[in-house]
């Protein structure tokens, strides 16, 4: 199996690839909650039962063809920082990372599929794809689920479907979620309307790292809340339809920004670039918000030939646990801010500055005082 360092060294498949609407939709993820018939759910089991379950199923999960040469470990062998790195990569949940004995995770080589063992349910099978591609993410986990089911006795009732620890996951046990980058909707103050509208249809909107987290870097996750009484394909089709609408709104807001306040937009993006290229202290919040503007600049061709994969990877590299993993020790918040700035300066060296736009016919003479930008 693959070593932790090898897994983390490489960018995930979704970071390299692109999918439909990938300028706005970062990822599509689908997770299935599954349980075994003859064990109590992890939240109500004895530690020994969780240990036994992990011991019984781990080899079955590792033997899946999709997991060939993947990463697999028990949490007792993983440091807090390593688990946090997996959270930052969206491979395991924060709740799962907080646990230890009897818990484990198996991740495929491409970091597209992860299977958490003894999360809130015995299994959480997750698939992740670039862009708006929930169908393909579902196909990934559906296949793995079908294979697992041949080997394991699932808890299933024809009436309630897949039986889960929490009744909110009952039925399909499926949560489909899409991560969106919506800077223009935020800049034009339309985001709260969008969030409200999406909430009304029964979908949930969350921040970057799930429930209760702040929408840093203008990143939002939209996912289904209902899991029972609908087919998987219906749930996915509904979300995709809603996301198409949100993408349209974001594109309209971007066009409006470009049309109504181009100078202001260039100014924001130029400042973001300048700070990221030259700062020596960067908090996580500041870095994420500035990188969001840089990405917007790339999408609008204000920052030319910008490598999006590099930005995606940087977004992860500057997360607290990734920094500490690289430093090979725990860092204070101050130390992290310094290291974050250093890595950012280094990585962005290869990105050319935003297009320099002059508002006059000819460039201003040296020392001259052209009055173009004073339109107030």
């Amino acid at each position: 199996m693959m070593r932790f360092s090898t897994l983390i060294k490489n960018p995930a498949d979704w970071m390299r690839g692109s999918g439909p609407h990938s300028e706005i939709v970062m990822t599509s993820r689908v997770r299935l909650a599954r349980n075994l018939r003859d064990y109590p759910f992890p939240g109500f089991s004895q530690e020994q039962q969780r240990v036994d379950l992990l011991a019984n199923v781990r080899s079955v999960v590792e033997a899946l063809p999709e997991m060939k040469d993947g990463f697999s470990d028990e949490y007792v062998n993983l440091s807090k920082i390593r688990k946090q790195v997996l959270v930052e990569r969206h491979l395991i949940s924060r709740e799962h990372a907080a646990r230890s004995t009897g818990c484990g995770v198996v991740v495929d080589r491409k970091q597209s599929i992860s299977i958490m063992i003894n999360e809130e349910d015995h299994f959480r099978i997750q698939g992740i794809r670039a862009g708006l591609n929930l169908r393909s993410a579902f196909a990934l986990v559906d296949q793995v689920d079908t294979e697992l089911e041949q080997e394991l006795a699932y808890a299933f009732s024809s009436r309630f479907g897949y039986l889960t620890a929490c009744p909110t996951n009952l039925g399909t046990g499926m949560r489909a979620s899409v991560m969106l980058h919506l800077p223009a909707l935020v800049l034009t103050d339309q985001i709260s309307q969008v969030v409200k509208a999406v909430g009304k249809i029964g979908l949930a909107v969350r921040g970057l790292y799930g429930e209760g987290t702040e929408a840093l870097g203008n990143l939002f996750q939209i996912s289904n809340q209902h899991t029972l009484g609908e087919k998987e394909s219906e749930i996915i089709a509904q979300i995709e339809k809603v996301i198409e609408g949100v993408v349209r709104s974001e594109n309209m807001a971007r066009a409006k920004l470009k049309e109504d306040s181009p100078t202001h937009l260039r100014d924001q993006i130029g400042r973001a670039y300048a700070i990221l290229r030259h700062a020596h202290i960067l908090s996580s919040k500041e870095a994420l918000n500035l990188l969001s503007l840089l990405r917007l600049g790339a999408d609008l061709d204000i920052v030319p030939d910008c490598d999006r994969g590099l930005l995606d990877m940087l977004l992860l590299e500057i997360q607290p646990a990734h920094l500490q993993l690289q430093a090979e020790r725990e860092l204070t918040p101050d130390e992290r801010d310094i290291m974050r700035a250093e890595i950012t300066r280094l990585r962005l060296q290869s990105i050319a500055p935003p297009v320099n736009v002059s508002h006059s016919e000819s460039p201003p003479p040296t020392g001259g005082s052209f009055q173009e930008t004073n339109d107030e």
Binding site: F41, F160, P167, T172
Partner: protein
Amino acid sequence: MKCDVCTNEATVFLTQIINGQMTTVNLCETCSKAKGVTDEMGFGLAEAFLGAGNTTNVQRNDVLTCPSCGFTSAQLKKIGRMGCPHCYDTFQEGLDQLLSSMHKGTRHLGKIPTRAIADSRRNASMEELKHALQSAIDEERYEEAARIKIEMQALQTPAPQAESQGA
């Protein structure tokens, strides 16, 4: 006030209603962390200190207990989660109402695992055969009992292609 676990000064006071009885636990900072009082899953905290078996005189009629895992209706009310898959049978009453407030419907319409269905059919016929075997033995029809035993053994070995068997 002293911590219930060590002798330090208690700073965390935990009150829970378990099976209709109020339980209070006093803890110091260290012990509360060690025992995971900050655990956001919030499962049976008092049980973690008092031992899960601490259920003196709780066998009241209004408390339903899952025969498979020992989870009670009171715990379900408190945690909002089930103890084991069989809890969905035990706590069936009122479940539809709860589910209709959470979901689009109360019946599963999604994916069906082929093996789980085959298993449940097999279990049902196994139960029938067990009954038949018992009555055959009781009535001293030993030849028939032997035949049933063979049938049961055949049922236990999973057939590689069980699809063709009609429903």
